[in-house]
Amino acid sequence: MTAFLEYLGQSTRISFTKLGRASYFLLQILAGILSLLARPRLLLKQLYSVGVLSFLIITISGLFVGMVLSLQGYYTLSDFGAEESLGVMVAASLVRELGPVVSGLLFAGRAGSALTAEIGLMKATEQLSGMEMMAVDPIRRIITPRFVAGLISMPLLAALFSAVGVIGGQMVGCGLLGVDEGAFWSQMQSGIDFKDDIINGVIKSLVFGFVTSWIALFEGYDAIPTSEGVSRATTRTVVNSAFSILGLDFILTALMFGEH
């Protein structure tokens, strides 16, 4: 029993210490944002590797998710003779939930893991120490541009996911299942609210981008500089990001849509 309590206490202390380090790390990242404005090239390069290189996986996944949503929605709605509401169902599901959440999970798997591995390997090969000894702050030079790139990319990728998903839904719903195209688009137009649906979806994706980028970069920076350490850090990034995205999604949904 004493050993268990000791283990529990030690684990809690280690977790809080890590949280403290992560918070301080975040403050250092945020403090570097202003100086990044003076060097937009650093940001552009990271926007390419974090955002543009995630384009394909987001597009293809969005297309298939939209097509499946349309297929499943049609079977349920047609039982009630409401298949004309397919457009609003697909769009609301994508814009409110699946767009931010699924693209967040894909972002964590594609870009987050790559960021952790990159930073972890830079640490293991002494590139970060080397920078420090050259009087260059690695957080400002390496970490902050990647963080901001993640923050900017995530809402754009989520919007892309939703847009492609709607097209996929339309292709299946109107093209294959025979739903009236006019009804599909007009119901979507009247049913989706700019503030309640689209802005809330953007806020969610911003939060997910913030958290995922923070976790990915911190895990890389805090990784034990060995091959096993980097491997574990990469796994932790994907697992912790997924938990954070799903947990935060519940909280944000409750806050945004709770009063309805």
């Binding site: 830079m122 090969t125 002494e126 590139q127 120490s129 080397g130 920078m131 420090e132 000894m133 050259m134 009087a135 260059v136 702050d137 030079r141």
Partner: protein, 275 residues
């Protein structure tokens, strides 16, 4: 009590330094001096904290006790901006080279110049080519770090370390894993750069022969203490058992061949546990 008198020509002075990692004491109240314009070597078996000492001098680690002054500035009492200003006057050659893997050779050498100066690109080009010429790798400027041999990577890292014309260079195991030709080139470069650029060099190494050939003064560390110091000749003729074991490469001596363990026979005869 500190019995060391700081020589007037000392660029780096370490006083009463103690440093631990967890429960392991790496340094136990040691004092050293590194003179301007000289090549000083820190030697000792693996795991004695030689690299740790370089990181302490560079302000990357904090000592438990004691002070380290570089060019009259107490490294661990400097503010971040002041520490970074000091580091601009230091160059460090890491064991791995620590080249930035997403940049080619040219951009790696240009990196400190672009970060710390506002020189036009034409001037940076001239400086980079001069530094690369000094290490004999001007022709390799377009190669990526993964296309370089270990020796070439260290020479490029050396070119980068001298990019800002530092007052001192810290070398972390520069000869480890080098073939005889690369080793000869590095030995020659370290000596000639130190002389021609008027540098101060600190070399951490366990390569007895080549380091002794170019060092002006040697400290031998073991078990957290300085077990020997002097010119290469003095070290060669030292009466210290530690120093003699290190210089001759004897397998057993004050540094034991066996890692501490319980009695061998008892260990073989004990059963019931996998290890």
């Amino acid at each position: 009590m500190d019995n060391h008198v700081t020589p007037p020509n000392s660029l780096v002075s370490v006083r009463n330094l103690s440093f631990s990692r967890g429960t392991t004491k790496i340094f136990d109240n040691i004092s050293l001096d590194f003179e301007r314009g000289k090549i000083t070597a820190i030697m000792g078996p693996s795991g004695t904290g030689k690299t740790t000492l370089l990181k302490l001098i560079g302000g990357q680690l904090f000592p438990d006790q004691g002070t380290i002054c570089v060019d009259g500035e107490n490294v661990h009492q400097l503010r971040r901006a002041e520490l970074y200003n000091l580091r601009k006057r230091l160059g460090m050659l890491f064991q791995s080279g620590a080249l930035l893997t997403d940049m080619n050779v040219y951009d790696n050498v240009a990196f400190p110049l672009r970060e710390h100066t506002h020189l036009p690109e034409s001037m940076i080009r001239t400086l980079v080519l001069m530094k690369l010429q000094a290490v004999g790798l001007r022709g390799a400027r377009n190669l990526m770090p993964n296309e370089l041999s270990g020796g070439m990577a260290r020479r490029i890292a050396l070119a980068r370390a001298i990019a800002l014309d530092p007052m001192m260079i810290l070398y972390d195991e520069p000869f480890t894993g080098q073939d005889p030709i690369s080793m000869g080139i590095l030995v020659h470069l370290i000596k000639s750069l130190n002389t021609t650029l008027g540098l101060t060099s600190i070399i951490v190494s366990h390569d007895v022969h080549d380091t002794s050939a170019i060092a002006d003064y040697i400290y031998v560390l073991s078990g957290g203490k300085i077990v020997g110091e002097g010119t290469p000749e003095e070290i060669q003729h030292s009466e210290s058992e530690w120093v003699q074991q290190f210089m001759t490469g004897a397998a057993d001596g004050p540094v034991h061949f066996h890692y501490p363990a319980k009695d061998y026979v008892d260990d073989l005869l004990s059963s019931g546990k996998r290890y």
